[in-house]
Amino acid sequence: MAAFPTQFAALEPYADWALPSEADRYGKRITSTMDELQEFYDAAFPLLDSSTEYLQGAPIDGISDEDRNLLWLFSSLITVSFPIECWRQPTVPDSGPASIDVTVEPRP
């Protein structure tokens, strides 16, 4: 069964990024290699770019399972955008032993 709306079929190989919590998304980011992050970013970013109108037309209230999965995948793209666009490594440079964990977040 498809995880995403049909026009986002190109994202099906990356369905494992459609994770419900920021904690899961960040955990996957920092345990991935830069090559893996880059591959996901290269697949997802163009679709985010072309889907502005679609996402504007997807209400949060009563969101469908497919749109919710898409929301979660693009949320993963957000966390992955920092290693790709900014840090050039999976973790925040010089953040040392620090960790900051999400405890409350909107669902969906």
Binding site: T52, I60, F74, S75, D94, V104
Partner: protein
């Protein structure tokens, strides 16, 4: 060259002449003995923000808050009459911690008609009254009416719930907050209900992390990457637009950070796509109401107010109509728990949600840079290589904070000494 008007004295620090301009000691951030004095003088005396009214969504809602520095936990409840009350989270019978989930060392929240002690089954109403004593006839002259929970002073300001552990607070909450913070009464915090919360356990004195958030002098060198690749300059200079002190509280206002008006080539690709960033979603929800209390200095092109509310609450209000609060809870002289709550207007569409997610993640990414400095700062200060450290004019709030902490401890100890004579 300065871009913003300054006080007649030429600097903010000299404007508040009681601060002086001398280097300051950070002994208050490394001394176990001073921490014990702070516990008594500050965390058992001052009004402390323990949550928001949104944490108590309906009658019967409750949450617990552990205040390690005061060696207690409080239960905050919303009763059948909608009144917000707080109690020490301790059973009147044998002192067991009354409300907890799986571990007594973890905070809990929920909805209840009454609280039942796990140990001997005593029960309490949301108003703290004792409603049931198991095998009451086995006791000697017990009167349930006199066996309620120990109430803690609790007041709500602009939706922020505060408690004061002193049996008799020196000031009402409003008097404590003073006119500058008090002016925020009526700001529409209640319209921002979409929440992200983060928590961290950090290896530094609580004040060391507060210091990291109450000056922007560190921003160009530490957060060089806040700007996209074409615009980075670690030697960029920063200038705060307005600084103001009021009692133990303080604010710094920044200007010119209306990032949504910047050229797109200075930004990151995802930032531009989602129209969001570290200053919040660009497409702000417009508020119909007045916005009292913000921009106390009347700064042109207002960007952010950074209110530092004594002792351990920080509230940042952004021009894009969202806000965040940070709370710093000491757990020892060189450890603390950091809590961050980010509040947005509710997203109506998936795209609006992603804009909020981007802002929240940006805050976390850069806060990790700030948190990354903590171990190093604490280790450095504890080496006692230097007795005093120079602070510049942009670090006026750091100077004022440590002076306020010292003044509070001295005043409390003076009062206590006077009372014991």
């Amino acid at each position: 060259m300065t871009s913003f008007p300054r006080p007649a004295e030429g600097t903010w620090t000299e404007h508040y002449s009681e601060l002086g301009t001398a280097p300051i000691s950070f002994q208050d951030s490394i001394s176990p003995e001073f921490y014990r004095r702070e516990q008594d003088a500050i965390f058992r005396q001052a009004w402390l923000n323990v949550g928001r009214i949104e944490d108590l969504p309906k009658k019967g809602s409750w949450f617990t808050k552990d205040i390690v520095a005061a060696r207690t936990s409080v239960i905050v409840t919303r009763g059948p009459d909608d009144s917000v009350k707080a109690f020490h989270n301790v059973c009147r019978h044998r002192g067991n911690k009354l409300v907890w989930d799986t571990k007594p060392t973890q905070e809990a929240q929920g909805f209840a008609r009454q609280f039942v002690c796990k140990y001997h089954g005593w029960r309490y109403g949301l108003d703290g009254s004792c409603t049931y004593v198991h095998q009451e006839n086995e006791f000697f002259d017990v009167d349930k009416d006199k066996l309620g929970l120990a109430e803690v002073q609790c007041e709500v300001f602009a939706g922020f719930i505060f408690v004061c552990l002193a049996r008799q607070p020196q000031q009402t909450l409003r008097d404590f907050l003073g006119p500058m913070v008090g002016a925020l009464e009526g700001y529409p915090f209640e319209l921002m209900t979409e929440r992200y919360s983060f928590r961290a356990e950090n290896n530094s004195n609580w004040k060391v992390f507060i210091d990291a958030f109450q000056e922007y002098y560190h921003v160009p060198p530490l957060h060089t990457y806040q700007l996209g690749p074409n615009n980075r300059d670690p030697n960029a200079e920063f200038e705060g637009a307005h600084y103001q002190l009021d009692g133990p509280h303080r604010v710094v206002t920044t200007s010119g950070s209306q990032k949504h008006k910047w050229p797109v080539e200075t930004m990151y690709p995802t930032e531009v796509l989602l129209r969001s960033g570290n200053m919040g979603p660009w497409d702000a929800t417009e508020f119909d109401s007045e916005l009292p209390g913000i921009n106390p200095g009347g700064v042109k092109r207002w960007g952010i107010d950074n209110f530092q509310i004594f002792p351990n609450l920080e509230v940042l209000i952004y021009e894009r109509n969202w806000y965040l609060s940070y709370r710093f809870w000491p757990t020892s002289h060189n450890t603390h728990v950091f809590e961050a709550d980010l509040w947005f207007t509710p997203a109506r569409t998936a795209r609006e949600r992603l804009a909020r997610e981007y802002a929240a993640i940006t805050v976390k990414e850069y806060a990790l840079q700030d948190a990354g400095t903590l171990d190093g700062t604490q280790l450095g200060l504890e080496s006692e290589a230097f007795d005093e450290y120079p602070l510049n004019d942009q670090e006026i709030l750091v100077r004022h904070f440590h002076k306020s902490v010292g003044d509070w401890v001295a005043a409390h100890e003076g009062t206590a000494a006077g009372a014991s004579r």
